[in-house]
Symmetry: C2
Subunit: 575 residues, 2 copies
C-alpha cells in the first residue's frame, strides 16, 4: 500500500476528498477550461499541428497527471516553449501538414514520456540541474523572441518558415509582397487589444470595484473575447473570400486512439530533441509546481513529478496529442481560481472533452491571426533581457553563459542554443574550480585564529608555509596545487615546513590523493616537512584507506594552531 | 630582455654555461644517443612510418625544446603512446607505406605543435587537468596492451592490422597460417633477452662490483646488444631468404626539409586527434619534467613547457618527423647520466645526426622482430592494472572512470577511450557535487562550536533548523538545497527559523543566488525566518551586489553561535 501510495499520489488525496473540495475544484475547472480553449488551439498552431491536436493534448495528459503527479495545482498541457521545440524537432523529419508530421509529433511525445518515466523510476531528476538558472532564463527569453517572430507570418498572412531568427526574418522579408492587409488589421488589433487587456484591464476592473480574483479571471479571459470578436467579424463580413486564413474544419470528436511510430530511424532522429524537451519541460513544470506548493506548505516530490509528466506525455502520444508539460499561466489561474486537488484537472479535461465534441464548429471562422496574437502576447511576457544585466552585475561567468545561450538560440536554433549553454556553464564552473582560492595564513595575534596574510595583520614564521585551500581537491585542480606549492617552495628558500589547512576541503579524489603524494615526495626530496591540519572526518577516513597518511613526511594536526605551535616549537629547539 | 628570457629559457642557462657543465652534458649525450638509435627506429615502426622518420623526429625537436623548454633534463622525441596515437589517427586517413601516410604524420605534428603553442601563448595549460590521474593511468595501461598486441605481428612475421584489441586479435588469428618460424625464434629470444636484462642484469652487475650508474647504463643498453646480435645473425645466416623481414635501406641523410599539407580536409580529419595527442603528450611530458626538476629544486613553467613542446612538434613537421613529446625513459637516462642543461639535448641531436649520416647502412639487416621486441618490453612496463584495485579501495567514482577508460580504449580505440574517460570523470564529479553533504548542526555543550547532530551530543532547539552546507553552491546543486529545505520545513512544523551555516561555501553563483532567493520567499510565505551565518568575505561581497541581503527575511550573523543566541533568545522573549 505504501508502494502504491508512493507511485499513485491520487490514493492519498482521493481518500480524503469531500464536497467542499469538489465545489472548489469545479469552479476552478470551468475557469481554466474557458481559458484553455483558445490557448490549446494556438499552441497546436505553433507546433505546426492541426488545431484539434492542442485540445486532445490537454485532455488525457491532464487526467494522467492528476493520477501520478504530486502537485495539487499544476495544470498540464501544451505550453509555448515545448510547442516551439516540437515544431523545431518535427520540422526536421517531416513537412508541416502531412500525416508523417503528426506521427512524428506523437512519437516525440512517446519518447519524451518514456524518458521522463525512466528518469523518475531511476530517480535521476538531478539531471535537470545541468540547466543553470541563467541558461534557462536566457533560453526562455530567446525562445519567446523566436516564437513571437514565428507568428508574424500569421499576422501578415504570408507563408514563411525557418527555425532560427535570421531564417525567419529572411523568409518574412522575401514574402513581404504577399501581405494580406485585412489579416494584418485583424492580427494587429487583436494583438493591441490583448496587450491592453494584460496591462490595463485589471487595474481598471479593480477601480470599478470588482474583487481582485474576478478582475484577474476576466483579464485572463481576454483571449476568449478576442476569439469571439474576430470570429464573428470574419463570418459576418465574409473575410475568408478576402484571403483571411481561418482555423476551418475541426473534427467533432473525443481524442482519438493513436499509435506513435516505432521506427528505429525516427527514434534515432527524435531522441536528442525528446531528451531536451523532457528536461526543459520538467524544469519549467517543477518550478511552477514548487512555487505554488510552497504557498500552501505542500510538498512536491521531484522524482514522482517526472513519472507524472512522463505519464502525461505517454497519454498525449496515444490520444492524438504532442509533447506537454506543466504550464505556468494555466497553473496559476487554476491555483488562483481555488483548485484544491488534482481533481480540478480531471474536471477541466471533462470540460475540454465537451468542447471537443460540441464547440469545435464555432471556431470554424476563427482567424489564425487571432491565435497568433494570443501567442505573441503570451510569449512576449517571457522575454526578459534584464537577466543579462543582473548576471553582468553579479557574476561574469553567468553572464557569458546567458549571452551565449541567447545568441546561439536565436542564431542557430533551440537545440544548439540550450546545448551550448549547458556546455559553457559546465566548462566555466570547472575552470573556476581549477584555480581554487588558496590563502597563505598567519596567526591573528592573541587568538588561535588563522587568517589570510594579505587581508589581516597576522604573525608568520619564515620557515613555515601555511596555506588554506578554499575548495575540494579533485582532478581538475590537483595539478594546480602541485604547481603552486612547487613554485612557493622554490621561491622561499628558508621554508622548512609546509602545512595545508583543510578546513574547506570537502573531498579529496584519487587524482588529488596522487597529487598530495607527489607533493609529499617532492618536499621530502627537498628536505621539507609536509603537514595537514583540520582535516574533516569523512576526508580523513578516506585518506586513511591509502598509504598517504603513513608515508606523510610530517603530521596531521587537529587544528592549525596545534600545527603551528608544534612546528615552530620544534624549530626553536633545533636552532 | 625579460620578455625574451621568459619565452627563451636558453638565454638564462646559456649565459652561465661553463666547461664543467659542458663535459657532464657531453657524457650524458653519448649515453642517450646510443640508447635512442634502436628506440627511434622502433617507434617509427610503431607509428607505421619508415625507420628514418624516428631518427629525424629525434633531432630538430630536441634542439627546439632545448631553446624553448624549461626542464633541464627532459629528452624530447618519439614516445610509445604518442606513436600509437599517431598510427591510429593517420591510419584513418591514409594507407601505411604511402606518401600520403607520411604527409599526414607531418601534418599531425604540425597541428599538434600549433595547438600546443597556442595553449602556451594563451596560458591554457590548465586544460590538461581535464585528464584525471586515474583516466591517464587507465589510458596508459590500455595503450600499453594495445601497443604490445600491435607488435605481435612483427614477432610472428605476419601481416595484420586493426586499431582495437578485438580487431588486432581477430586479424592475427586470421593470419596464423602464415607464421614465419625463424622470425618467431628471433622475436621471442629478443623479447626474452630484453626481459631478462630489465629484470636481472642490474642486480647481477651490481653484485659483480660495478657502480650503480654504470650498471644502470649497461642495462639500458640492452636493446643495442639485441640489435647487434640479431642483425649479425640475419646477415650471417642469410635469413632474409628465409622470409625474415628486415629494416632494409635507410637513406644516409640529415633530416630533410619537409612541408606538412595545408589541405582543409586533412586538417578537419586530424584536428581532434591532434588535440588529443597534444594534451596526452603534454601530460606525460610535464609529469616527467616536474619529477626530475623537483629532485634539484628547479622549476618547470607549465605554459612555457607548452611552447617548448609545440616548437618541438613544429620542428618535427618540417624535418620529416612525426608527433613527439618528452619521453619518460630517455629523460631519466639523461638525468641519471648527469645532464646538467638542455645543451645535453643539443649534443644528443648532433650524435643522432652523425648516426643518420653514417650508421644507417649498419641497420640494413636489423630484423623488424627485434624492434618489436624492444617495443613490447618497453610498453609492458607501462601496463599497471593495480590502478583498478587502488581506485576501488579509495573511491568508487574513480574506479568507474578507470575501468571505462581501459575497456573503451581496448574495445573501441584510443580516441573513444580517452574521450569517454574524461566525460565520465566530469559527470561523476558533477553528480557528486550535485548532492552536497548538508549536516544539521547543534551546539556542543559548554562551547561555541557547532557539530553534526548525528555524530555528536549537541543541544538543539525545535524551533530552529540549523544546516551546515559542505559545498560551494552553484547551479548543479542549487535545486538540491531548495528541495532539502522545503522537505525539512514541511516535516518539522514547529520550525520558526532556518539558519544556513556558510563556513564551507566558497562560492555562490547566480543560480544558487536565485535558489536562495526562492528559499527566502517560500519561507516568508510560511512565516519562517531565513538567516545566514559565517559567510566568507568574498561570498558576502558578491551577495551584497544583489538584492538578496536586503530582502532577506532574517539576518546575516558573523558566527553560528551569534545566530543561535539571537534567535533562541528572541523566541524566549516571545514565549
Amino acid at each position: 500500500m505504501d508502494f502504491l501510495r508512493r507511485y499513485l499520489p491520487i490514493l492519498d488525496w482521493g481518500s480524503r476528498y469531500d464536497r467542499n473540495a469538489l465545489s472548489n475544484d469545479m469552479i476552478a475547472a470551468v475557469i481554466v477550461t474557458i481559458m484553455l480553449i483558445p490557448q490549446s488551439l494556438a499552441y497546436a498552431l505553433l507546433a505546426g499541428l492541426p488545431p484539434e491536436a492542442g485540445i486532445y493534448a490537454s485532455i488525457a495528459p491532464i487526467v494522467l497527471y492528476a493520477i501520478f503527479g504530486t502537485s495539487r495545482a499544476l495544470a498540464v498541457g501544451p505550453v509555448a516553449v515545448v510547442s516551439l521545440l516540437t515544431a523545431s524537432a518535427v520540422g526536421q523529419v517531416a513537412e508541416t501538414g502531412t500525416a508523417g508530421y503528426a506521427m512524428a509529433a506523437l512519437t516525440l511525445a512517446f519518447l519524451s514520456g518514456g524518458f521522463l518515466v525512466l528518469l523518475g523510476v531511476f530517480r535521476l531528476g538531478f539531471l535537470a540541474n545541468f540547466l543553470s538558472h541563467p541558461v534557462i532564463a536566457g533560453f526562455i527569453t530567446a525562445s519567446g523572441i523566436l516564437i513571437a517572430t514565428s507568428q508574424l507570418k500569421h499576422i501578415l498572412g504570408v507563408d514563411a518558415h525557418g527555425h532560427t531568427l535570421p531564417q525567419m526574418l529572411g523568409s518574412l522579408f522575401e514574402h513581404l509582397g504577399q501581405v494580406n492587409w485585412i489579416t494584418v488589421i485583424i492580427g494587429v488589433s487583436a494583438t493591441a487589444f490583448l496587450f491592453w487587456v494584460r496591462k490595463n484591464l485589471k487595474p481598471l476592473l479593480n477601480k470599478m470595484g470588482l474583487s481582485p480574483l474576478m478582475a484577474d479571471i476576466l483579464t485572463k479571459a481576454g483571449p476568449v473575447a478576442a476569439v469571439v470578436a474576430t470570429t464573428v467579424a470574419v463570418w459576418g463580413f465574409g473575410l475568408v473570400d478576402r484571403g483571411v486564413k481561418i482555423v476551418g474544419d475541426v473534427p467533432q470528436s473525443l481524442p482519438p486512439l493513436t499509435m506513435p511510430s516505432f521506427s528505429a530511424d525516427l527514434f534515432g532522429s527524435l531522441l536528442v530533441p525528446a531528451i531536451l524537451i523532457s528536461i526543459i519541460g520538467f524544469v519549467e513544470s517543477i518550478s511552477v509546481a514548487q512555487t505554488l506548493a510552497a504557498k500552501k506548505r505542500q510538498q512536491i516530490k521531484p522524482n514522482q513529478e517526472l513519472i507524472g509528466l512522463g505519464a502525461a506525455n505517454l497519454g498525449a502520444a496515444f490520444t492524438g496529442g504532442f509533447p506537454v508539460t506543466g504550464g505556468f499561466s494555466r497553473s496559476v489561474v487554476n491555483f488562483d481560481a481555488g483548485a484544491e486537488t488534482p481533481a480540478a484537472g480531471i474536471y477541466t479535461a471533462m470540460g475540454l472533452a465537451i468542447a471537443a465534441l460540441f464547440l469545435t464548429p464555432l471556431v470554424y471562422f476563427l482567424p489564425k491571426a487571432t491565435l497568433a496574437a494570443t501567442i505573441i502576447v503570451a510569449v512576449l511576457s517571457l522575454v526578459d533581457l534584464s537577466i543579462l544585466k543582473k548576471t553582468w552585475n553579479y557574476n561574469r561567468d553567468d553572464f557569458v553563459a546567458v549571452l551565449a545561450t541567447i545568441v546561439l538560440t536565436l542564431g542557430m536554433g533551440v537545440e544548439v542554443g540550450v546545448a551550448s549553454g549547458v556546455a559553457i556553464s559546465i566548462l566555466l564552473h570547472l575552470y573556476k574550480t581549477s584555480r581554487p582560492h588558496v590563502a597563505e595564513v598567519g596567526l591573528v595575534p592573541g587568538s588561535q585564529h588563522f587568517r589570510n596574510i594579505h587581508r589581516h595583520k597576522v604573525e608568520t614564521d619564515p620557515t613555515l608555509l601555511a596555506l588554506r585551500v578554499d575548495e575540494s581537491l579533485y582532478f581538475i585542480n590537483a595539478r594546480f596545487l602541485q604547481d603552486l606549492i612547487q613554485s612557493r617552495v622554490t621561491e622561499g628558500t628558508k621554508i622548512k615546513n609546509v602545512v595545508l589547512m583543510f578546513s574547506a576541503v570537502n573531498e579529496v579524489d584519487y587524482s588529488a590523493l596522487e597529487s598530495l603524494e607527489a607533493i609529499n615526495l617532492r618536499l621530502k626530496d627537498m628536505g621539507i616537512g609536509f603537514h595537514l591540519s583540520e582535516v574533516k572526518g569523512p576526508v580523513m577516513d578516506r585518506l586513511k584507506t591509502s598509504h598517504m597518511i603513513d608515508d606523510l613526511n610530517g603530521e596531521v594536526y587537529l587544528s592549525q594552531y596545534d600545527a603551528v605551535m608544534a612546528l615552530t616549537h620544534r624549530d626553536a629547539k633545533a636552532s
